[in-house]
Amino acid sequence: MRLDPLGNPSSVAARQDGAAVAVRARGLSKRYGDRVVVDGVDLCVRAGECFGLLGPNGAGKTTTLRMLLGLTPPSAGSIEVLGLPVPARAREMRRRAGVVPQFDNLDPDFTVAENLATYASYFGLKGPGLKARIAELLEYAQLADRADAPIQALSGGMKRRLTLARALINDPALLVLDEPTTGLDPQARQHIWERLRRLLNQGRTLILTTHYMEEAERLCDRAAIMDHGRIVACDSPAALIRAHIEPHVIELRARDADTFLGRPHAFAGVRVEHVGETVLLYAHDRERLLAAAGALPFIQRPANLEDVFLKLTGRELRD
């Protein structure tokens, strides 16, 4: 196996074949007793793209990822990842996949560098190339000066970067990331995004789940929105916005939102949505929108993926 993960990975070959598919799932379902967590999901992730799996808590995103990785068997449906049937040949598939789990499972009994070396051993990687490889990944994660630090001494952002570096130890063609930036500060998130972008530029396939619509809009070539175990829409972020949301949006916040709702607020050609302390006005015609807002202070912005998300998955709280 080649030990040059950050230069020119093996997945480039797959990308040159324009129609190459990294992941294909058909009729994927997962039931626990009477509870249906994933309900007939069809997925197709192209090689070399960044694919987002979006949805409220409990929508079935993590369970879907676990099935794709062969970590839990589906109740129904078929999966093929990197050309291999899963779960039948999941172990072989995972030799060429990397995983960034939702919750850090770095090994607390080891230092930063030892974590990479130990994880490499699970893949059977060894030899002189491995040392160089670990040095390179520490550089990539900006942890070279922390190589001998215990895991407990790392900040949340450092842990995430190390987990990401660890997932690259086997030069994976496919990277699966479950909420890679949840809980990180803005700097740390920018850092992770930049590193994920580099991986995309190298031709790797990325599948990620996220609650941050900005993150999905920024990184994902295509995104699927999941709700109640089903995929309710799947396309590029721009196409999703075009298909589901009027081009002009106004936000009224807090007291202004209350004031707006306290008056008659039905306007022809204007869609009114109320989420938490915000009122959102959508329209094809900008003038109508401005008229609806009247003299209230408002924020005008382009439609975004969050609008699509709220429209398709509803506004009630999910826990």
């Binding site: 990785l69 068997p73 039948a88 172990r91 499972n105 130990t118 051993s121 699970y122």
Partner: protein, 260 residues
């Protein structure tokens, strides 16, 4: 789940799991070695001298020798059980070490086998330390005592596999206390570690002979004393039987727990 057939030497995939635990142990080797040697030494000196004075000979050997051979076995049982419960549960549940291993190309069976063999290794380390202490005190009868080492490896695997069933079902650490108190301690007290089996009522002896510890002791004691065990095949079969049962049941339970 269907197994992949294309990977070579599938039986060795447990090795990185074993090696991971070994590396952690090596980091903390100093204090644990002190414990490995120190504790049995204390037991032997205190119990051996104390009881030995009163008891004199048991079954034709000095009590100290009798006791040493028993403790070689019981410490293998305790070390392996402890490792397969508290330590393995910590790695499975608290630290999520297993989940990281399962994200790599390892399966549940590789992780379980690696953990059991590691627990057996800990048993071997502990028993070796006691055997060395006993030899230093002149309690070991001959070179045949070296056969004790592979036996303690099997004893360790056997008790680790049984303990792993408890771990597979555990929701927290509390249940391990029950297992120690209700299963292991009675077995320890009644299986001939501290006094010979024939001083117990026949019914108790019959029950104890269905359990693995008594068989382990009947293998190890003659080897330490300088003699030759009898009924070797039966003893090995009982230990191997419990080992395989524990391996099969615990693997199944953990597969179900982690793959749901």
């Amino acid at each position: 789940m269907e197994r992949s057939l294309s990977l070579p030497r599938p039986s060795l995939r447990f090795l990185p799991v074993w090696r991971r635990n070994f590396r952690v142990w090596r980091k903390l080797m100093g204090p644990s070695i002190v414990g490995n040697f120190g504790e049995p030494l204390l037991y032997l000196l205190a119990l051996g001298y104390g009881f030995g004075r009163m008891v004199g000979e048991v079954g034709g050997v000095p009590y100290m020798t009798f006791l040493a051979s028993g403790i070689v076995v019981s410490s293998a049982m305790t070390a392996a059980s402890f490792e397969a419960m508290y330590s393995a549960f910590t790695r499975m549940h608290m630290q999520q070490t297993w989940s990281a291993q399962l994200h790599a190309p390892l399966e549940v069976e590789d992780v379980v086998l690696g953990e059991l063999l590691w627990a057996a290794t800990k048993a071997l380390i502990n028993s070796t330390a006691i055997l060395l202490v006993a030899a230093g005190m002149g309690l070991v009868g001959g070179w045949q005592a070296l056969w004790v080492l592979p036996v303690t490896l099997l004893v360790g695997f056997c008790f680790a596999a049984l303990a792993m069933i408890v771990t597979a079902l555990a929701r927290n650490y509390d249940v391990f206390t029950y297992y120690f108190t209700l299963v292991l301690t009675p077995m320890l007290l009644l299986s001939g570690v501290f006094f010979p089996l024939d001083s117990l009522p026949a019914v108790v002896v019959a029950v104890v002979r269905l359990l693995p510890l008594a068989h382990a002791i009947e293998l190890v004691r003659p080897l330490v004393v300088g003699g030759e065990p009898t009924g070797v095949l039966l003893h090995l079969a009982v230990l191997a039987g419990y080992a395989l049962l524990g391996l099969a049941v615990s693997s199944r339970l953990i597969e179900r727990r982690l793959r749901r």
